[in-house]
């Protein structure tokens, strides 16, 4: 490995540091606090550096880093408070029986969105962030999370609905209603 250009720190940084803001944002929105997010991201880079010689140049560096990120996040999560039970939300009958279309406020503030997102159980939040913020395909998410494609799709669908419900709940707490004067979480549109 001596003088192998693949292990030069400059090469490593050139390939991986452009993804640093995206890794941090994802970690920050999934970890319990900023200190934990920083620890996770730091570990991701040190782990990636250790195995960089196995990374094939020209392949998807971002996907590779996110796989490491989620591995580290899941490792950290074993020490967190118990996560929500996923099974309760993955009941196919639950998804098929309703089409939830909760109205959402016209103006969505960043702080309200972050609050609503924080209330979405983490298994769903992970998939929503990868799909809607990081623009990963369903297949890439399945590979990153190591779950079947069907699970990705059901978690994504459920996660987006939960996010809308939380947004509507926050808006209602401010007294914001639909244009017709209905509470956002109220009667069918």
């Amino acid at each position: 490995m001596f003088f192998d250009p693949k292990v030069r720190v400059e090469d490593f940084e050139a390939a991986t540091m452009p993804h640093f803001p995206h890794l941090y944002r994802t970690a920050r929105l999934l970890a319990q606090d900023s200190a934990e997010a920083e620890d996770v991201v730091q570990e991701v880079y040190l782990q990636a550096w250790k195995s960089f010689h196995r990374f094939e140049a020209g392949t998807n560096c971002r996907a590779w880093l996110f796989k490491i990120l989620f591995h580290r996040l899941h490792h950290f999560r074993r020490h967190w408070a118990k996560a929500s039970k996923v099974e309760a939300f993955e009941n196919p009958e639950d998804q098929d029986s309703i089409i939830a279309e909760t109205p959402v406020p016209q103006e969505i503030r960043d702080e309200d969105m972050l609050k609503a997102l924080g209330r979405v159980p983490i298994e769903f939040r992970e998939v929503v962030l990868l799909a809607d913020v990081q623009d990963f395909s369903y297949k890439e998410i399945a590979e990153t999370m190591k779950v079947p494609l069907g699970t990705v799709m059901s978690r994504l669908s459920r996660g987006r609905k939960l996010l809308r419900q939380e947004l509507a709940g926050i808006a209602s707490s401010y007294g914001i209603t639909t244009e017709k004067g209905q509470p956002l979480t109220g009667e069918p549109a």
């Binding site: 720190v9 452009p18 089409i99 279309e101 959402v104 969505i108 972050l114 997102l117 009667e187």
Partner: protein, 306 residues
């Protein structure tokens, strides 16, 4: 939670596929079916607009989570420490370092001169590229001067005016995977400089294409990257205020591509976009006649959040 009772089975089917449509996960045939339905169904179109709005708001909120610069520095510091630890035990490295030291001493004078020149060049490039970053941040990111659903091309052409309308097609054709949400002539309050600003969305982020008069300034070629496209354009890059920017210069103009995508991606996009934009800028009786940014009718529109 609201539960909608659809009059049409078709609406129910569309809404089950709407998220996959937004995520570009549908087959071409299914996408056509969804598009056809959306053209005729206001309720489903509204639902699509709502889902797009929530997704865009989520992206904005996520983007507000700015990584601390100290974390980046700490990571880079630890990486270098580890590299030193790994290489420190190698006798081969010691010989290599000694040899390199001799070479450095011999070539030091020449290298230092070259380095100083390059450093000055990079500073100049950074100061010019900062113009593009500033406009992207002020108008697109902080000002949010774009709609969630792209303005129709005829509206954008009208906003650009007859002199600049032709550039819209050049941007659309050479920016695959991005949709042009907004195009206008823009100015930063307190600055006489005007910009042609295309705000586009793709790859999970907002990307700006910005053109402005160079006012006689020229970028140093020794720090440029040569474009790989047939036009062989000089491209310049910088990372400023959390954004990656790629710049190029044409006859009397600077062009910028700005986003938070990786530097490589931003350069690749500029690599494809710069030659046709330069051709358009330099075509006709003269670029100043085609794009006289000194006579701009209006400043950047006020934030138009929906």
């Amino acid at each position: 939670m609201s539960v909608l009772n659809f009059d049409s089975k078709q609406c129910e089917w569309i809404r089950r596929n709407l998220d996959a449509y937004l995520g570009n996960e549908l087959l071409v045939e299914t996408t056509s079916d969804v598009l056809r339905h959306l053209e005729s169904c206001q309720a489903c179109s509204r639902e699509l607009e709502t889902r797009t709005r929530v997704r865009d708001a989520l992206r904005r909120a996520a983007a507000s989570q700015v990584p601390p610069e100290e974390l980046r520095q700490s990571i880079q510091h630890r990486l270098r420490e580890r590299q030193r630890g790994f290489l420190g035990g190698s006798r081969q490295l010691a010989w290599a370092v000694a040899l390199a030291g001799i070479v450095v001493v011999v070539l030091g004078g020449i290298a230092t001169q070259h380095w100083i020149g390059t450093l000055r060049g990079r500073r100049l490039v950074a100061s010019v590229l900062a113009l593009g970053v500033s406009d992207h941040l002020q108008c697109a990111i902080k000002g949010h001067n774009y709609p969630n659903i792209a303005n129709p091309p005829e509206v954008l052409r009208k906003k650009l005016g007859p002199q600049y309308a032709g550039l819209l097609a050049v941007v659309q054709q050479n920016l695959p995977g991005f949709e042009v949400l907004e195009a206008h002539i823009c100015s930063i309050p307190g600055s006489p400089r005007k910009y042609i600003h295309f705000i586009t969305r793709g790859r999970g982020t907002i990307l700006s294409v910005i053109l402005t008069r160079s006012e006689g300034e020229q970028l140093p070629r020794e720090v440029a990257h040569r474009s790989e496209t047939p036009g062989r354009v000089n491209l310049y890059e910088a990372h400023l205020e959390g954004m990656n920017v790629a710049g190029f210069e044409s006859k009397g103009y600077f062009g910028f591509v700005v986003s938070d995508l990786s530097q490589d991606t931003t350069m690749q996009i500029a690599n494809a976009l710069a030659p046709p934009l330069m051709t358009a800028l330099e075509a006709g009786p003269g670029s100043t006649a085609r794009l006289d940014l000194g006579a701009v009718p209006r400043a950047c529109p006020p934030p138009a959040r929906t």
